[in-house]
Each structure stands twice: as structure tokens, then as C-alpha cells.
Symmetry: C2
Subunit: 208 residues, 2 copies
């Protein structure tokens, strides 16, 4: 069972090579999942993108769901890194929120890393789903807190923070559905407009 082999038996070079191969597989899988969804993507599909037979994948992952799971883990790691970065970086809640939106958009578009996190969560086993959902909830909590702070500071009007966060995350996650790297929309402008749109909507009372 190569999957659980102790690191001590292999040289650093071999391990590094293996790590890279795993990353390649994850990337191929991620793209396939994004294009066709988890369930309609077969292991053959993923293997074909790598010029290999599907059984070769079992040398790196114990089963199909684990591939999806690792995609989720990577997304979450990226999100959490982003939250770290945001700490004490801007002095207004709106500023921090704008930063998070721009970064999240970047993550969603760069390498499409955030895509599976947006969809395909129900495909995971209960335990893994719980883990992913818990992490996602933490992130939502961070956003909610920023909105509450913005309201208290008078920067935002009084909205239901929970609903506002759902609106933002919906807009961002939906990117996985329409964005294409070779399309006309470019990530930086996308992030900027999303930040303006979603945060502007919290600041201004629309006239009825």
C-alpha cells in the first residue's frame, strides 16, 4: 500500500517526484470536476488527461472520493492562508472585506482552485463533508464579523449579516460556473468590480 508508506523508506527526491505527480493528478481531476461535475467525471476521464490508465491513479489515491477530498483541502488551505494575510492589513472592516473578496476571486480564477469548494461538497462522505463544512462555516463567521463591525462603525447600513454573507459568497462561488481562463473577463477587474459591487451595496441605501 504505497499510499500509507512511511516517508523514511524513500529518498527525498523520490518523495518530491511523487508529490509533484499527486499535484498533477489533482489538477487534472480538478479541471475535469469543474467542467463536468464530480459524478459525471470518471476515473478514465482523469487518467486520460494524464495519458495514463485509471488504475495508475490508485498508486496515489485510495479512491475517487479521496481525490475530491484533497481538492477541497487545498481550496480550504488557500482560503485560510488568505484569512491570515488579511489580519490587521486594512484598518476598516470594509477595507478588509474588500481585500478578502478580491483574494477569494483570485483563488477562484487562478488555477480554478476554489471551484470544488463551491460545489461538489455533497459528494463527500459524511465525515469529510462535516470537516469541510466546518471550515467553510469558520470562514463565513469571519465575513459576518467584519460586516457586524462595519455596521457598528457606521460604515455599513443595517443589514442582516448572515444574508449579506450569503449574497457575497454566492456571487463569488458562482464564478466557478461561468468563468473560463480563456474568456474575456480578467481576474483582477473581476475581483475589483465584485468588491465594489458587493461592498458598495452595504454602504449605500438605495432609493426606492
Amino acid at each position: 500500500m504505497p499510499e500509507s508508506r512511511a516517508a523514511s523508506t524513500s529518498s527525498a527526491h523520490v518523495l518530491e517526484k511523487r508529490r509533484r505527480r499527486r499535484a498533477e493528478i489533482l489538477h487534472a481531476a480538478l479541471t475535469a470536476f469543474r467542467e463536468n461535475g464530480y459524478h459525471t467525471t470518471t476515473l478514465d476521464d482523469i487518467a486520460e488527461r494524464l495519458g495514463v490508465r485509471k488504475t495508475a491513479l490508485y498508486h496515489y489515491f485510495p479512491d475517487k472520493e479521496s481525490i475530491l477530498y484533497e481538492c477541497h483541502r487545498e481550496s480550504l488551505a488557500e482560503i485560510e492562508r488568505m484569512i491570515e494575510e488579511a489580519q490587521g492589513r486594512y484598518d476598516t472592516p470594509g477595507g478588509r472585506l474588500a481585500y478578502l473578496i478580491r483574494e477569494h476571486v483570485r483563488i477562484m480564477t487562478e488555477g480554478l482552485e476554489g471551484s470544488p469548494l463551491a460545489f461538489e461538497v455533497p459528494a463527500l462522505s459524511p465525515e469529510r463533508r462535516a470537516e469541510i463544512v466546518a471550515a467553510r462555516d469558520r470562514y463565513e463567521g469571519v465575513l459576518r464579523d467584519l460586516i457586524v463591525q462595519g455596521i457598528e462603525a457606521g460604515e455599513f447600513r443595517e443589514v442582516d449579516p448572515k444574508i449579506a454573507v450569503f449574497a457575497m459568497l454566492g456571487a463569488i462561488n458562482w464564478i466557478a460556473r461561468w468563468y473560463r481562463p480563456d474568456g474575456p473577463v480578467h481576474p483582477p477587474e473581476l475581483g475589483a468590480q465584485f468588491a465594489d459591487h458587493l461592498i458598495g451595496g452595504l454602504k449605500c441605501q438605495p432609493v426606492p
Copy 2:
């Protein structure tokens, strides 16, 4: 083949009964699809919700995909009815847009009708998918036009209309992912806040 039987052979009463049963099946399927996704939902799951064996479903629909397809058709009909209603109803682009957002939110929450339209599109066959996507594109075009009009009228700031529409639809479609009829969020407030948030964000230049 009861699926293609001519109407003339059956009485109005029988046809009406059959129509209601079909609606029941669609509703059960819709709920199941929404909770677990199309692919993880089995015909047994749907049948169980109706207290019936899965083969009974074949008396009403030729196959599983057709059930999903009919869900989509109903969603689209609802959306198109909504667009009709909006015609010449408000005099500013922002007003019409706000109406559409509120109504779309209502459709998404009432009976969860809009849910499958939001997700599960890739599960359809190419022909059917093309049909659904075309209708969805028309809807997006309506929204885009309203935004362009709003910009020209000076009601909105200058944004990329396409991106703005994706932000709105993302926020709205995402409702299917988190909204629960027995949850704390109530549709009318949800629709109102979404309209304020998403349209307010088009009106006001956020200070950086």
C-alpha cells in the same frame, strides 16, 4: 406506453388525476435533488418519498433525466412568467431590476422551484442542456439590458454589465444551497435585502 398516449382516449378527470400525480413526483424529485444532488439521488429515493416502488415512476416519466428536465422546464416557465410581469411595471431600470430580484428570490424559495435551474444543468443531455442554457441566456440578456439602461440613464455607475449580472445571479442561485424553508430567514426580507444589496452596489461608488 402511457407516456405518449393521446389525450382523447382518457376522460378529463383521469387526465387531471394523472397531472396531479406527475406534479407530486416532480416535487418529491425536486426536493431530493436539492438535498442530495441529481446524481446521488436514486429513483428509489424519489419513490420512497411517495410511498411507492421506483418502477411506478416509469408510468409517468420515460427515464430519470426526463424528471430533471421537467423540473427545469417548470423553473424556466416561472422565470419567464416573471419577466412578462416585469414589462413596463416600473419606470426606472433600477426599479425593474429590483422587482426581478425580489421575484426571482421568491421563486427560489417558494417550493424551491428555481433550485434545479441553478445547479444540475450539466446533468442534462446535450440537446436539453442547450435548450435550458439558451433560455437562461435570454434571461441574463434581459438583466444585462436593464443594467446598460441604468448606466445610460446615470442611475448606475459604469460597471461591466456582464460581470454585474453574474454577481446577481450567483447570489440568487446560491440560495438553493443554504436556504431551508424552516430556517430563520424569511423570503420577503431576503428578497428585499438582496435587491437593496445588489442594486445599491450598482448605484454607489464605494470609497476606497
